[in-house]
């Protein structure tokens, strides 16, 4: 056992000093933070150009409303140094009666090409007819810029509806009030106290419903993935540089594998601990410390341990069978795909955690650490027996995979040449 811990210590030191870990634990969150801050800054600072557009209003009534809405929009965006977005500057297209439509559109297109206009919009004459399906047409060179078109779509849709309501003799304000959306607030259940009184039901918001489960899902994925590349690199280095031969002169292949697995688990826990502390700090800052659930944290640790052992032993076994990184990439692809599949299938669980599919997925050992953890983190969670059964299946599978990995590892470490195929790997296990 002492030697297993010596190998583990060496692995942990090697991993925490590796660029993968430093990137994973420090640089990545900092990069994401910097990127988010930059995007936030850029979205309000970069798009400041005036967007002049022409409105060919064939209804004859909508232009003033567009002009007023644009003025309102521009006021909201501010002026000078405080300005946080573009200004939309509409201009009416002069009376079109008697003009050739094609020539008119060509003329406006030329103005866009010259840069006099950014775009122009054509509102069909029948737009206000209740049964009209004619679309408002938006013309521009720069089709990838959607801020103006999105604003126009929403503004014109509102104005057309208001005009239609007025023409039908209805008060648009009253209609708006009558058709206002009714909010649905989600709550947990109330509970009876010993004295017969009841507790107040707790409101369940988006943070609890999706934020916490997704946080755990991403953290589980990151913790497992952060080890994978380091494991693959070190095992291939040890094999190619004949370090493994020196190590096997001192310890058994199982001790070596076990030491590396312990190292993987420690690093996974370390990484998770850093992010969990960060997460807890964020919840305190948001005034939601009530969302910190020690039971859920306990489940997370159990599933993280199993996932680190399961995937860690799988990566070790397959890496040991490879002679170089190129071989490793192709042999490890199925294992990587399995991990990504586990992550993606969790999205189905997120949508309906109590569906038969979600229940089934949470009992598939390679998916369990993700799927069952998600179900546990989404109120009200699965029945306890399901969680315990999934852990039992996962642990049994993990022991079996570690055993098989040790047998592949023992042969693979000393094997040179072409990477084995699946039947050969199975033969190594049976040996």
């Amino acid at each position: 056992m002492r030697r297993v811990l010596i190998v583990a210590q060496n692995e942990v030191l090697g991993l925490v000093r590796s660029k993968f870990f430093i990137i994973g634990i420090l640089v990545m969150p900092v990069c994401v933070g910097v990127l988010m801050t930059f995007l936030g800054y850029a979205s309000s600072r970069v798009d400041h150009a005036d967007r002049r557009f022409a409105v060919l209003d064939r209804t004859g009534v909508l232009y003033p409303a567009v002009q007023e809405a644009a003025a309102q929009y521009n006021r909201e965006k501010g002026e000078g140094a405080e300005r946080s977005g573009p200004h939309f500057l509409p201009e009416p297209v002069a009376d079109t009666a008697g003009q050739d439509d094609a020539a008119l559109l060509a003329g406006l297109s030329d103005r866009v090409r010259r840069g006099d206009l950014f775009a122009f919009v054509e509102i069909p004459a029948g737009a206000l007819d209740p049964g009209s399906t004619a679309a408002v047409k938006y013309y521009t060179q720069n089709t990838s810029y959607v801020r103006l078109s999105t604003w126009l779509a929403s503004t014109l849709d509102g104005q057309v509806q208001q005009e239609r309501l007025k023409r039908a003799g209805m008060d648009p304000r009253l209609v708006r009030q009558l058709t206002r959306r009714t909010e649905l607030a989600s709550f947990g259940l109330t509970e009876r106290r010993a004295d017969g009184s009841t507790t107040e039901a707790r409101r369940v918001d988006e943070l609890q419903r999706f934020g916490i489960p997704i946080f755990f899902l991403v953290l589980m994925f990151m913790s497992v993935m952060s080890n994978a590349q380091h494991l693959i690199n070190t095992i291939i280095e040890e094999k190619m540089s004949k370090i493994s031969e020196v190590l096997l002169g001192s310890i058994s292949s199982f001790q070596l594998l076990a030491g590396k697995l312990v190292g993987v688990v420690v690093v996974s826990l370390l990484l998770a601990a850093v992010y969990l502390i960060g997460g807890a700090y964020t919840l305190f800052a948001l005034g939601r410390p009530d969302l910190i659930d020690p039971v859920l944290l306990g489940w997370f640790v159990v599933f993280l341990l199993c996932a680190a052992l399961l995937y860690g032993s799988l990566f070790q076994a397959l890496s040991s069978a490879c002679s170089d990184l190129k071989d490793a990439q192709s042999l490890l692809q199925p294992a990587m795909m399995m991990l990504i599949m586990a992550y993606l299938s969790s999205m189905l669980v997120l949508r309906a955690p109590d569906s038969a599919l979600a229940v089934g997925l949470s009992f598939v050992p390679v998916l369990t650490p993700f799927a069952m953890l998600l179900r546990l983190s989404m109120p009200p969670g699965p029945p306890l027996w399901q969680a315990l059964l999934s852990v039992a299946i996962l642990m049994t599978t993990t022991v079996a995979v570690v055993w098989a990995a040790a047998r592949i590892f023992r042969v693979g470490l000393l094997m040179q040449g072409k990477a084995p195929n699946l039947p050969e790997l199975l033969r190594w296990i049976r040996k």
């Binding site: 540089s241 004949k242 096997l248 002169g249």
Partner: protein, 305 residues
């Protein structure tokens, strides 16, 4: 005589190829035992089986009185043929790691690491990474890694290959010192001169089978005093037409000949033909014996004389 290594009827196949075939060998404690043999003859396979890195198909190996699979590994230092060092690791950290895997504490290891690094002129490199060392330095680090845990048995696979004469000499002296301290040493080599100078006993493996095992004197006696060194006034051309010659090796100033007849009969023939300036009955060198065993037959097959 206590055995440091005892190999009994050991065979190992890779696929259909026999790497080692029914090998029996006893290495006495405290000896320096040289393993020689052509490339691919089974030396490294035998050493790996002794280290329990690979297991024999049949047969048994006892090391230091215990089965090879047991904790005898802690008492064995091993330097593999291809060097195994972590390139990005600092020298001292690497030596600590390898030493601790042999069950030694840091307290035991630190003085030994410092002493050996200083002795092999690597003290200034203790905190450098392995990939900053020259090939010779890395080889010395690998050697220190194999002895830092004070093994009772030291197995060295080609320890001197690739070293310059100064470093090779430093390592040879270190090996002899370790033997004086009681360490049993087994090393494989292609350098017959080193094997002759250093080894108490020599074992030669050829095509997976033992072909020589004994002291140098025993082996030389076994292969007879059938090489004669001559210096003739006519040089090698004076040997033309001499009957009973098995082989002639022309060294320019002198010739080594082997005869199927007696040395006296050869001398009589030579005196009758030319002026004989030198005539010496030689003991065959280990290199001669090696070549005689491993030289390919005229039909292309390798032979075992």
């Amino acid at each position: 005589m206590t055995a440091a290594i005892e190999i009994r009827h050991v065979s190992k196949h890779f696929g259909t190829q026999a790497a080692v075939d029914d090998l029996n060998l006893m290495v006495p404690e405290g000896a320096i035992y040289g393993f020689i043999g052509p490339n691919g003859s089974g030396k490294s396979t035998t050493l790996r089986m002794i280290m329990n890195i690979i297991q024999p198909d049949v047969g048994e190996i006892d090391v230091l009185g215990k089965p090879a699979a047991s904790s005898a590994r802690d008492e064995i230092g091993y330097l593999p043929e291809e060097r195994g060092l972590y390139k990005k690791m600092q020298v001292r950290r690497l030596l600590r790691y390898y030493g601790r895997l042999k069950g030694r504490s840091l307290g035991e290891l630190e003085p030994a690491i410092t002493r050996w690094l200083d002795r092999l002129q690597l003290g200034a490199w203790a905190d450098k990474r392995v990939d900053q060392l020259s090939k010779g330095m890395a080889q010395k680090v690998q050697f220190i890694a194999s002895i830092v845990a004070r093994p009772r048995l030291l197995i060295l696979d080609e320890p001197f290959s690739g070293l310059d004469p100064v470093n090779a000499d430093a390592l040879r002296t270190a090996v002899l010192d370790l033997r004086r301290e009681g360490t049993t040493i087994v090393f494989s080599t292609h350098d017959m001169g080193t094997a002759e100078k250093m080894c108490d006993r020599i074992f030669m493996i050829f095509q997976g089978r033992k072909v020589l095992d004994g002291s140098l004197a025993d082996i030389q006696a076994q292969y007879g005093h059938d090489t004669i060194r001559v210096r003739l006034s006519g040089g090698a051309s004076a040997l033309q037409g001499v009957s009973g010659l098995e082989s002639v090796t022309d060294h320019g100033n002198f010739q080594d000949v082997r005869t199927t007849g007696s040395p006296g009969a050869l001398l009589q023939q030579l005196i009758a033909r030319t002026e004989v300036r030198h005539f010496e009955i030689m003991q065959p060198s280990l290199a001669d014996i090696f070549v005689r065993i491993a030289r390919p037959e005229p039909d292309g097959r390798e032979g075992a004389a």
